[in-house]
């Protein structure tokens, strides 16, 4: 269980602008092993929220409680950014290996080999990121996040600007890998179809300051989520929730 309770996150006043409150009284929890999508218009504070959860920004009021298996264990957090953020001067394999915790966990090279193979990157292992297409780079970023065997995986629109067939392929790979080792995922997107395809539960966010306006469970079984069912679900959602329709 992950409990998130953010009383306030704001950007300090500068010479030109007044203090700006981005997130206020945002409270929600994630079940262990749950796949949550967050949907909201751009600029609604989603990336800010992820940075708080990843511990990159500690300047806020509130608490984030991550589940912990035991006292001496700090949960692994994987973060897939909006851009792949691979170090261009290190090869694909080096990029992945660098992210692994030290000392190296047992069997980590087997885990990495396996992920690389599943994602179809075996031939690209020793290439530099600049030689890769965007779709491939995104897959490498996914492998890097999965390789650390995260307890909590944050994903910030990781498939944006991929063409539709490539995006579908990577989405499927994501679900396949996740199913083999279920862990809590928080996936941010502005694409509702993508959210319905991937999520157990969708949180709808409204901007400034960020608040949750709806919390919807997806009750279609994962195996049978095809375009038609997703469209039907979306339609129903819009009919029942005026607010969501206005939001998107």
């Amino acid at each position: 269980m992950i409990n998130i309770n953010i009383q306030e996150k704001s950007w300090p006043a500068t010479e030109r602008t007044a203090k700006q409150s981005v997130i206020k009284n945002l409270k929600f929890s994630l079940e262990s092993g749950e796949f949550i999508c967050m949907v909201g218009p751009s600029g609604c504070g989603k990336s800010t929220l992820l940075n708080l959860l990843a511990g990159l920004d500690s300047d806020f009021e509130g608490q984030i409680q991550l589940e912990s298996k035991s006292k001496n264990y700090s949960p692994h957090i994987g973060y897939v950014f909006q851009n792949p953020r691979l170090l261009p001067w290190r090869t694909v394999r080096e990029n992945i290996d660098l992210a692994l915790p030290e000392p190296l966990p047992e069997q980590s090279s087997v885990v990495v080999d396996n992920l690389i193979e599943v994602m179809g990157l075996t031939g690209a292992q020793h290439k530099y990121p600049e030689m890769l297409s965007l779709g491939m780079s995104r897959r490498v970023a996914l492998v890097r996040a999965f390789a650390i065997q995260p307890d909590f995986l944050l994903m910030d629109e990781p498939f944006v600007s991929l063409d539709a067939p490539t995006a579908r392929k990577v989405q499927k790979l994501l679900i396949d890998v996740w199913k083999k080792r279920p862990h809590t995922v928080l996936f941010v997107t502005h694409d509702l179809n993508e959210a319905i395809l991937l999520a157990d539960r969708i949180l709808f966010l409204a901007p400034s300051p960020t608040k949750i306006i709806a919390d919807i469970k997806i009750d279609i079984s994962r195996e049978s989520r095809d375009e038609e069912k997703i469209d039907r679900f979306k339609k129903k959602l819009f009919e029942e929730n005026e607010e969501i329709r206005m939001l998107l």
């Binding site: 973060y79 261009p88 600049e130």
Partner: protein, 247 residues
Amino acid sequence: MQNRWFYTLAPPALLIFSWQLLALVINSALLPAPFEVFSVLWQAITTGELLPNLGITLARLLVSFFIAMTIGTAIGIILGLRKPLDRFFDSWLIIFLNIPALVTIILCYVWFGLTEAAAILAIVINKLPNVVVTLREGTRALNKDYFEMAESYNFSRAKIIKHVILPQLHPFLIAAARSGLALIWKIVLVVELLGRSDGMGYQLHLFFQLFDVASIMAYTIAFVTVIQMIELIILKPLDRRAQRWRR
């Protein structure tokens, strides 16, 4: 491959040819022909007069180069990271960048005597602001995205320096090294001319008093050759290594 040889050999060949032509036209002791200069160079090498002086100058160059690069890189990175410090010391930097080399050299000799340490100090002071400015630019240009990635994946400090910071600073380090080497070459000779009794600068001073143009040119050739070697053997390979990931 043929192309490569052409571009390595043809430009110096053309230079020597033009020089020969000019020497023939002018026909004066003030511009000796290439052959004459090369024979003087050979003589200077065989009599054992050139190499020791060249060695002394090279030693001064290397010592001051490493001191200036190390301190300059450290200061540059700190100023690049800390805005208030940068704002405070920016004017200092501009002042030191613009003090004429000759002034620092004279002052160092006046204050610290005609010593080796004063000579090295004068060279370092001349070179330092240059390195600081270059590395400050490099540090400012460091990409925040990579730091966030490194932080979220719990990179250790050593890992961050080795895999995130240094590769990004590499081009700036090379640039500072290149321009630094060129600058120090020019300054070290003046330093020797003014306050040392050995080294290339001192020798050139003697030749100047004797109006021995052939020797001056012979020494210049020895000089340029050494610089070319440093470029070819050290800097170019370093550069290539750092660029290999680029498309």
